[in-house]
Amino acid sequence: MAKPMKVRARNADGVTDVRILMRHDMESGQRKNSDGDIIPAHHIQNVTVRHQQKVVLFAQWGPAVSKNPYLAFKFEGGTPGDPIEVTWVDNKGDSRTDETMIK
């Protein structure tokens, strides 16, 4: 089961700074197990960040994004107390959504 993310959002001078840590193996598809077989790629494909229903960032990721991915970005607007919602979906169809309040 997908594990929770850590989402932080802070507003200063009208700009909201969002920092997200996700828990995911981001298996590259390049590694071999102890039997010499390739471990299939298993990685997040899409990340969607919403502020009050509006998408403020949409990402496509390949397996070259590091394990336990980090994503940070900024958008104009946002008020302390507003919810920020983050959803990821991986290539096996697993997904996770977490929410935080802007500080």
Binding site: P4, M5, R19, L21, S66, K67, A72
Partner: protein, 267 residues
């Protein structure tokens, strides 16, 4: 700091950046520091901390109890500063215990787990033991490590830890001190803290538990030490065993006085 310049110069040569000992060494150092700083911006160990926090407060085990009443040495339920004062002697178990060991005691006493169930899969990435220790340690972030080892049992463990630190055996004649008993040494390009000195122990112990970038997992000090011993080609000591606790008493005592910054982030 001469040694540091040498280290970085070697690193720089490897990277083909610095042709001579002087000039670009500063740039190389700046870039390596910049890399480390950028990683500190978000430490994936925080994810495990979150899980640990949840595990701490979620009823579990045969008693369907939380760990919130766990006594880590400062009284039931007191987390702040507790990790920075471990290992310490606990009268109820009549043992000197580190965080890993004490949390397992609480899982047994409060939640009713058997010892076997409490430590099952402890070394697997993101295990509950590692999550709980990471959570507990971060509750002491900003506190000063203070392990005076004054109780007679703590003092004894300190002496044992010191002996073990210098004890050579196995097919490579290694002791902890082989790599960690001298200043300014490296394995390949990896700097080695001199854990027998205050400065070296403080540099190291202030950062654990730590996220290991190379492994993509958090390691607690138990895991770190058991793996060092594995690398020495000794057999593995048991998780929570006194060998591992005694070494920690020795190192935490040496490190006393430094502010805990855990979780750290390591190569």
């Amino acid at each position: 700091m001469r040694s540091r310049a040498v280290v970085l110069c070697v690193a720089a040569v490897v990277l083909g950046i610095c042709a001579s000992a002087g000039g670009y060494a500063q740039t190389t150092m700046d870039e390596i520091m910049r890399y480390r700083e950028m990683l500190k911006e978000a430490n994936p160990a925080e994810l495990l901390e979150l899980e640990g926090e949840e595990l701490w407060a979620t009823p579990a085990g045969p008693n369907n109890a939380t760990l919130e009443a766990c006594d880590l040495g400062l009284g039931p339920g007191v987390l702040k500063g507790a990790y920075a004062r471990l290992p310490r002697y606990f009268p109820d178990t009549d043992k000197v215990q580190d965080a890993e060991s004490r949390i397992v005691t609480c899982m047994m006493q409060l939640q009713g787990f058997t010892r076997k169930d409490a430590i099952r899969g402890w070394h697997k990435p993101g295990s509950k033991n590692e999550a709980l220790v990471t959570f507990v340690a971060t509750q002491s972030r900003g506190d000063v490590i203070d392990v005076p080892a004054t109780h007679p049992r703590e003092a004894e463990m300190h002496r044992v830890g010191q002996e073990l630190f210098y004890r050579r055996s196995g097919p490579l004649d290694f002791a902890c001190s082989t790599c960690h008993g001298l200043d300014d040494r490296r394995i390949r390009l990896q700097e080695l803290p001199n854990l027998s000195t205050k400065e070296g122990a403080q540099t190291s112990m202030s950062q654990w538990p730590a996220y290991r970038v190379s492994q993509g997992v958090v390691w607690t000090m138990q895991r770190r030490l058991i793996d060092c011993i594995r690398q020495m080609r000794w057999p593995e000591p048991e998780f929570l065993s006194d060998t591992v606790v005694a070494l920690q008493v020795y190192m935490q005592n040496n490190a006393s006085g430094v502010v805990l910054e855990a979780p750290g982030i390591k190569r």
